[in-house]
Symmetry: C2
Subunit: 165 residues, 2 copies
DNA sequence: TGTCGATATCTCAGTCCTGAGATTTGAACC
DNA sequence: GGTTCAAATCTCAGGACTGAGATATCGACA
């Protein structure tokens, strides 16, 4: 037995797999459809979704260490450096040494970066709201609860590679 | 008024935007977490998720035109060509001219491709099932319904660029 | 039947990012 | 106070695409 749960009957196991695959398909498609809206919106300002994510995180949370930025926008460490480089080259953020840990660096919005976020964020938020308007308020709350549980479990059970083939 | 719905009170509009942004965050995180599992699994066989998606679509639906493949795996037309080239170079699929439309080409699994899918699909499906096990059966059914509605609406309201800034 | 706008695929330059490894610093233990 | 392991960031080569345009064909209509 490699599974963690005991199937009730021979066919129940199969149904569970089919249901999961179906859920995975609709999750992917929903994500892709909403992502297309977000991307189209930020592209008008010459930004990628990841770049916008960095700016938004800094706007709402204040200065963050590179590692914290990485956790927010879900990119690799190399990607984080690259994003910070690009935004810094455009004068939207700046890097300063972290006070209490000389390995770390803190990223903060420049005044120009803050002006940019303040200018483009409201329309972006409305576009996301409209893209998600396929669900009513109560349904959105349900979806949030379910997706949170889904994400926590999937992120918790690490995506490590099994040792067998 | 640029919105389609009339807010009940001055604060309701704001709450709707906040809720939508929250839903967008949990949707992204859930997708990323599950995607990491799927990717780690197919990477063991030297495949990307998109490549595996092509193989799986052909396995379950039979030969498909390039355009149909594109709709299944959600990549650009250039990406579709690139995926077919790569899989063809590995001897997993082959392209044949479409009988009734000389513009189109049909992609089909080779025997080697079919053997590969048959060999790796079951473990992949179980891994997806385990990654999604944060929700029970009834919750998964709810999530499928909600995500389908979400995706249909978002995909339907095209991600076109508004004319104003 | 010739024209003309759509549709299907392909080409290609360039983008955004990943993954592995290197470097620097921190913290805990001898 | 020196080792040693872990954590934070950076470097770099290359991968997996995207997006815009090119080419070939189709279908419908004058």
């Amino acid at each position: 037995m490699t599974t963690t749960k005991k199937p009730r009957s021979p066919g129940a196991e199969d149904g569970a797999v089919k249901r999961a695959l179906h859920l995975w398909v609709v999750l992917s498609r929903a994500y892709a459809a909403v992502q297309a809206h977000a991307q189209a919106d930020v592209a008008r300002h010459g930004l990628t979704i990841a770049e916008f994510g960095v700016l938004e995180a800094l706007y709402h949370k204040g200065p963050l260490r590179l590692g914290e930025v990485q956790a927010k926008v879900l990119v690799s460490s190399g990607g984080t450096t690259w994003l910070a480089d690009r935004l810094e080259a455009r004068g939207l953020v700046r890097r300063v040494p972290a006070a209490e840990d000389r390995r770390a660096r803190v990223v903060a919005l420049t005044p120009a970066g803050e002006r940019l976020v303040r200018r483009i964020f409201p329309a972006h938020a409305r576009r996301i709201r409209d893209a998600l308007a396929g669900l009513g308020a109560a349904e959105q709350r349900d979806a949030i609860r379910l997706l949170r549980a889904l994400g926590l479990h999937a992120a918790g059970s690490q995506a490590r590679e099994p040792s067998d083939a």
